[in-house]
Symmetry: C2
């Protein structure tokens, strides 16, 4: 749910007049993206998304995000394409915030995940990795292993144990393991790093859009797979669905083969991915004021996922032969 | 800001399949309307608004609201038209809530009100009153003078005086006056009763849409004018702008003349309208939890408006000759 900035009708019309996209028909704040303010903008020439970048996004990262989307879209990846204004700029300013207009993608994000969705995600994730491999702006992953201990410490021992008794030590022990075993040197490039179901649109059973590249960064491709295993392959009851994982990894592999190092690293990358979302959820859980409109997500879901990955001995347990 | 109910992709697709409006391209929760959940729905045939009616709306009132919109739209009033499903029904059910699809209206609502906006509002308000005069479903105004004392009492003396010292007695005295002088027998019919700027769209300087008929009811036309005087004709600094009022009333009058009784009653109706919004704002101000996403509007704005109307001796002070 995200409309953090009110934009007046006059501001919108003036802003859009700098583009060659027709006259504004409507501009409605939408409940999409939690970091930024998003509007669905319709003009007499088409539909667009207007985004105002709020405090949580570092303006210095915007050329990476917008550049990556443009790079991928040019190569046929179904992601939003930044629209350039008449002066050539894609990144502009509205209501004292960095702002951009991107193309609108049709489709709905799925609430009930099927293995067909996972098949589509695997294929498109691999294509995205391949297409982004020659994108030359680097952006280190600011939410990777080095950031996790400070994140846990900012949640605090007492508060963390208040969520679940003994949780702080569980996470601290896991962190120690990950810090000393985190793999390096894996095939890397631009990854999405947040490809959850609400960021993926489908139409007629096929993937029609991947959105929200505002956690994208340069990191190991297989870490992106680890994130998707967590995001797409567990059932609401917490159990791992190997059929979903098998289909996701099988279609990924058709587009882009795995190295042996990636296969070996998959369990620890999936553990790391589980811990990363566990830690940010835990922090939000402890720091969202009561009665706030945004309901924080339960971090305990990721404790169960983490435990599963801790038990995995090899990539075969994710359905890979 | 209003997305109270999550609707899954499958639910939306199934719901829309019962209409003859094409296949769903997208469905995005929008920040419009505070009582209900609204989605901007696009199909391959056009754009629509999908509304789920939440607890604050009495389902028994929905045939009135939808019937009125349909009645007015048929007569050329720029308001949303309820779309009938293939079975003929406009009011259906989605996620255990009453739900309807209405046509999408282009335009932006104005943040900075000019007298040109007021001219357009006057004209269209009069046309709406004329067009609704033969709409035959009655709906008593549940937020008229009889409801105001219970509303004040539910806010409470101590809490009300906490907002501004002595406010409770000011409001109670005003209520006593309004209760004993409230006019009866004025020309009546269907009124909008909430025609604030965020419910009115403009395009190229002309009124292109009037939305949110969920406070509409059967009441005196001049009371609707009183509401619009409050909603459109005061400056951000609290001062009354007689030019705006004059233009609004002058264009109204071209479409629908005033009776002498209406002219005489205008000051008290404007006082009542100010008190009505003051009381609901006061209640929301006192009852919205801290940190909630919806920021309650300051009731004191309406104390200043009420004081102005109390000082008005005749309709001439609103710019009417």
């Amino acid at each position: 749910m995200a409309v953090y900035t009110d934009v007046s009708d006059e501001d919108v019309s003036k802003f859009v007049a700098a583009y060659d996209i027709g006259d504004v028909l409507s501009c409605k704040g939408i409940a999409e993206g939690v970091e930024n303010t998003n509007f669905m903008l319709t003009t007499d020439l088409g539909a667009y998304i207007l985004t105002l970048y709020e405090k949580r996004v570092d303006p210095a990262d915007l050329p990476f995000f917008l550049g990556l989307m443009e790079h991928l879209a040019k190569r046929g990846i179904p992601c939003p394409t930044p629209v350039h204004a008449s002066d050539g700029e894609a990144l502009r300013s509205l209501c004292d915030r960095p702002a951009a207009i991107v193309t609108f993608l049709p489709g709905l994000w799925p609430k009930r995940i099927t293995s067909d969705h996972c098949r589509e995600v695997g294929e498109h994730l691999a294509r995205m990795h391949m297409s982004g491999s020659d994108f030359d702006i680097p952006r280190p992953n600011s939410l990777s292993v080095d950031s996790w201990r400070p994140l846990l410490e900012s949640s605090g021992r007492i508060e963390t144990d208040g969520v679940s008794a003994g949780l702080y030590d569980v996470l601290s022990d896991e962190l120690m393991y990950l810090e000393s075993h985190w793999p390096a040197g894996l095939p890397s490039g631009a990854i999405h790093a947040d490809l959850f179901p609400d960021n993926v649109f489908f139409r007629d059973g096929h993937l029609s859009g991947m959105i929200d590249f505002y956690f994208a960064c340069s990191d190991a491709f297989a870490y992106d797979i680890g994130i998707c295993l967590n995001a797409w392959c567990f059932e609401p009851d917490g159990s791992f669905n190997i059929t979903k994982a098998r289909r996701m990894l099988a279609t990924y592999r058709i587009e882009r083969g795995f190295t042996q190092e990636e296969l070996d690293a998959l369990p620890i990358l999936a553990r790391g991915a589980a811990l990363r979302f566990l830690l940010t959820r835990l922090y939000d859980w402890l720091n969202t004021p009561e009665g706030a409109y945004v309901v924080p997500k339960d971090p305990m879901e990721y404790v169960r996922k983490l435990r599963f990955h801790q038990s995995v001995k090899s990539a075969g347990e994710y359905g890979l032969d």
